[in-house]
Amino acid sequence: MLRLNRLTLTDFRSYAALTWRPAARISVLYGPNGTGKTNLLEALSLIVPGRGLRSARNADLPRLDGPGSWAVAARFQTQEGETIIGTGCEPGSDRRVFRLDGAAPRNQADIARIVAAVWLTPQMDRLFQEGLSGRRRFLDRLVWALEPGHAREMAAHDTAVGSRNRLLSEGRHDRAWLSGLEDSIARHAVAASAARLSLVTRLNAQIAAGAGAFPPGRIGLACPIAERLQVEPALKVEDWLRETLAANRPRDSAAGTCLLGAHRTDMRLTDVTTGTPAALASTGQQKALLIGVILAHAALIASARGFAPLLLLDEPAVHLDAERRRALWDVLIALPAQTVITGTDAETFLPLAGHAEALATGGGGLHPDGRFLRLQTDTTPVPAAL
């Protein structure tokens, strides 16, 4: 079980100072544009290591008229008791630091062990219309939530690719140096692709098992490395990759970039019932497919780690028809996850009134809505397993 008991923001984005104690397992934040709904979701997403749901740079996080430093602290109830996780930047420093129960954690993995968060943002509505780098980031974040070592594999891979690109662009055809870098690319690309493949297999099984009101999607990888990994042992794929990269030097040199590697992978999502790829589906259909993926991912984390992650849903109702909205509310009520949802008006969320609190945002604060729950205890029974 993972429950947020208290969130405090100091000089973060639009908030000078805010203390929020969620009164229910599901919280709805509603208000006009620009009143700080997404800022609050972002604060929660920054509690887990990474750049949060906006992929923001540190420089963008402090409040505009503030002192330049910022802090977010969250108190959680976990299986092991209460714990406080904080993150922020000290005055005069642009390096983000973490605090775990008041002390500096040994590393960020210490924090990743305690909390997890999964989110859906309106930017993802364009995931299948825009370039493949957005889809790959989305995919890698899914992998990373279950395999924390994945981020390091990808970082090492990208460094090796960048170094090889530099050598080729400078016309420095040092055979031994290039093959050393290609060896690194091959090892890290195969490790990263294997992690992606394993995640996709588990996620597809989870989606198929939990298919309800949302169209069952099927994730596929457009990646020659992953394709080979399905039929050949990893060491053989590494050899193939090393040889191919060596043979491709003139081609990559002419193209100005490395045309093969874990950085070229694309993710596909298909509606299994109709066979329609997400890129060709309607906006509402895409949103429903994505929600199915996000919910399955949350369930996968819950079963792998023993607690459900925080579910941060920014404007999830947009583009959904009435039936899908109802289905989404039903799923959220049944899930054990602590959930924060945003929207522009409270009426959309009235079907959740018996299970959720609702807070109007504005004026740098939160204002409880009397039509929703205002209890300190959660009325939704929590399944014993979680």
Partner: protein, 197 residues
């Protein structure tokens, strides 16, 4: 505070590793309060070291004699050369007293992104030391980074034709460490490089 001399001193101190503006200020103040016992001896020691210590013409170690104490030591095994990135790595290995052979300091690693190529490293000297014929084994003790791995690969390629044995330091389970907290990459390396019990 204290005039331009003090600010200049603090500025110089704060550029040292492990020092920031605050600790530099504290160190400067401590010295200024006892110039006779702390500051002048330090100044003399700094001058002495700066004038006496030079890179060893054989291995690149920093020492007040050339060849350095290690290269000049007749008890050391001259058939093994341990190649390290920097003098700091050499000192760490000497502190641990685990290597009885000689060293060779590269002065960095190949780094395409930082513009450091083979010509910027102390490599020709290493190859000529190997060519002298006394060396039987070269240990590559380089970091497990992309640049460290590329450098090891490059050196292996250069040294292999000479026929001397080339080894690399092992990777895996740290002393006193538990397996379940290791990341997948380290675990895989530990298993790949396992040895007979």
């Amino acid at each position: 505070m204290g005039g331009p001399e003090v600010e200049h001193l603090i500025g110089l101190l704060s550029k040292l590793p492990g020092m920031g503006p605050r600790s530099a200020r504290r160190a400067a103040l401590k010295m200024l309060q006892q110039p006779e016992s702390r500051m002048l001896p330090l100044a003399a020691a700094l001058r002495e070291a700066a004038e006496a210590v030079k890179p060893c013409a054989d291995c690149g170690n920093l020492d007040s004699q050339d060849p350095c104490t290690i290269c000049a030591d007749e008890h050391r095994d001259r058939s093994i050369i341990c190649v390290v990135e920097g003098v700091g790595d050499l000192w760490a290995l000497e502190r641990a007293r685990v290597h009885t052979g000689l060293y060779h300091v590269l002065g960095g690693t190949l780094s395409a992104l930082s513009g450091i190529g083979p010509e910027d490293l102390n490599i020709p000297l290493l190859l000529s030391r190997i060519a002298e014929g006394e060396v039987a084994e070269v240990i590559l003790a380089l970091g497990a980074t992309v640049d460290g791995a590329a450098t090891a690969h490059w050196l292996t390629d250069q040294i292999r034709p000479t026929g001397v044995a080339i080894t690399r330091v092992g990777q895996g389970v740290p002393m006193g460490g538990a397996l379940d907290v290791l990341d997948d990459g380290t675990l895989a390396a530990a298993l790949r490089t396992r040895r007979g019990a």
